[in-house]
Symmetry: C2
Subunit: 303 residues, 2 copies
DNA sequence: AGCTCTTATGAATCATTGA
DNA sequence: GTCAATGATTCATAAGAGC
């Protein structure tokens, strides 16, 4: 078993990456600092300047990413003065101009979103996970993120009611007999482009931007073991921890000193964990169920 | 009980609406013909020309919408040649330039999305429902779409935990007695901006662009009984049927002859249904649970 | 192990107040 | 007048305690 490296570098990713050779990373997955009008927020970037701020950095991403690699950008525009900001839309257009292919937009549905009530708006329960690529032929391990089939398979396919047969039939538009055979006996299905994950809350002192299950899912999907993952805005180190758990090498870059410590601790703890009780993690990982459509019975059973 | 009108007009909405006075409609909700590169699709609009095609029509929408009205646009870009189209992003930017406020983007999560498998892409399980407004002060009946709460209410509100009291107390900084009364006896919560609706499948001969629950939800949210709803691309009449069920007046516009017949039949059938068995529909409607976050205990109990 | 009950806390948003 | 800070609002989840 080869050793897995997870390195946390200190500085602005634009500078750090300039020293790296082209075509180095298999996957870039990150959740950059969101645009924020409050200037006092350290590191906050104004929405109006966001694209301008982002482009020099994404130019490096494009250079250091391997041709078959993928870039996942987790981001969401805030509401302000009654409107959604448009800087994310503008960013997508600008990235395409820069040479990226906008392959897909995944939706992260935050099951436990922030509470609140306003006269003109409901709670915001989703974020964008934008997928960009350098080429049309990128690595994608779909089987790695297959999920247990829902109750659909369990209840309906086992004892097929007439209703289900006719409904299935009308959907497919052809005889039902042959196609249904593909589903019987299968217990896993491919996911969709909607991810259902709760935000991690209240477990540790540090608050990660995204739950570990999110980078984990994309790492499984777009890399193999031993591949190299980059998070240019690594924050408290969630991406590198996830990479290490999945036996991928990783580089995280962070410009804020206080996060730097946190990230290094996170990664060190993960490495220790792996040596001490790797089997435990595997179990734990299965339980997490890829973060997609967790079956209710499973969730209940674990308590 | 006043009579509810549902009128299906024939023609291009740009022309039809030009004859209507300004500030006429309380809500515009529609699912326009999607951009489609295949020119043979009747009525298909090329993605490159989509914004250009849409703007003269949305200009009329802006004129005929009441100041406190809302415009809901259900749309989703297709993938082509490995990339997502950008015309929807461009449309949002263009509509803002036209004078619209981009208030919110709701996600319609299609629980049972179309089956299929591709090497570079998972199944598409969501569509955008873009909310635009003329002014920042629009009508919004949030209570009309409240949904059953999670387990929280069940367990906690019955016997109020100390935490709820203390947090409330510390936040408000005054005695807790007065507002806590709002919580007792509540079993519903406000929804989020993610809608979980199944697509309607195979019950009718025509395949509606969206399930009736979708316009229904927005009609409940943004109009009162007796208000006037417009669907400028009404297709098979789903929006007008939903409006009629909810006792809102409606106008639907359709340019395709064959859909026109369908829509008029749909609306006529609905009107008949209303007279014959109104109570039945109400029951059915409750059961539908607004399509949002059905409680787990309920789901489990259902097995 | 299981089950209940308790507690903490989030990439939030708007209206109001104060400088 | 513009801009920044403060207060009010709110719910799904995980972890922990107790039985």
């Amino acid at each position: 078993m080869r050793e897995i490296r997870a390195e946390i570098k200190y500085g602005d990713c634009a500078d750090i990456l300039a020293g790296d050779p082209a075509n180095t990373f298999d996957l870039i997955v990150t959740s950059p600092p969101y645009a924020d009008k409050r200037k006092n927020t350290y590191g906050g970037v104004s929405p109006d300047k966001y694209v301008e701020w982002f482009l020099p950095r994404s130019e490096q991403f494009l250079r250091v990413l391997k041709p078959a690699g993928t870039f996942i950008l987790n981001i969401k525009e805030k509401a302000e003065n009654g409107e959604r900001h448009t800087f994310v839309l503008e960013l997508i257009l600008a990235l395409r101009k820069q040479g990226w292919l906008w392959t897909e937009e995944f939706i992260w549905h935050k099951k436990n979103c922030y509470p609140g009530k306003w006269p003109n708006r409901f709670r915001d329960a989703w974020e964008r996970c934008l997928q960009f690529n350098k080429t049309r032929h990128f690595k994608m391990n779909q089987k790695a993120v297959m999920v247990p089939m829902g109750d659909w398979a369990e209840t309906r396919l086992k004892s097929l009611g007439k209703n289900d047969v006719t409904r299935f039939d009308s959907q497919v538009g052809s005889g039902f007999g042959k196609n249904i055979a593909n589903w019987l006996g299968r217990d896993k299905a491919y996911p969709t482009n909607v991810l259902h994950l709760a935000t991690e809350c209240g477990n540790k002192s540090h608050s990660a931007a995204f739950p570990e299950a999110l980078p984990e899912w994309f790492i499984k999907l777009f890399t193999d073991e031993g591949d190299l993952v980059l998070d240019p805005f690594v924050g408290s180190g969630t991406t590198c921890a996830a990479a290490q758990h999945l036996r991928r090498n990783s580089v995280g870059i962070e410009i804020k000193q206080e996060y730097l410590e946190l990230a290094r601790e996170e990664v060190a703890g993960t490495a220790y964990q792996l040596m001490e009780k790797a089997p435990e993690y595997g179990k734990n990982n299965d339980r997490r169920n890829n973060g997609l459509h967790r079956r209710k019975s499973t969730a209940a059973a674990h308590k």
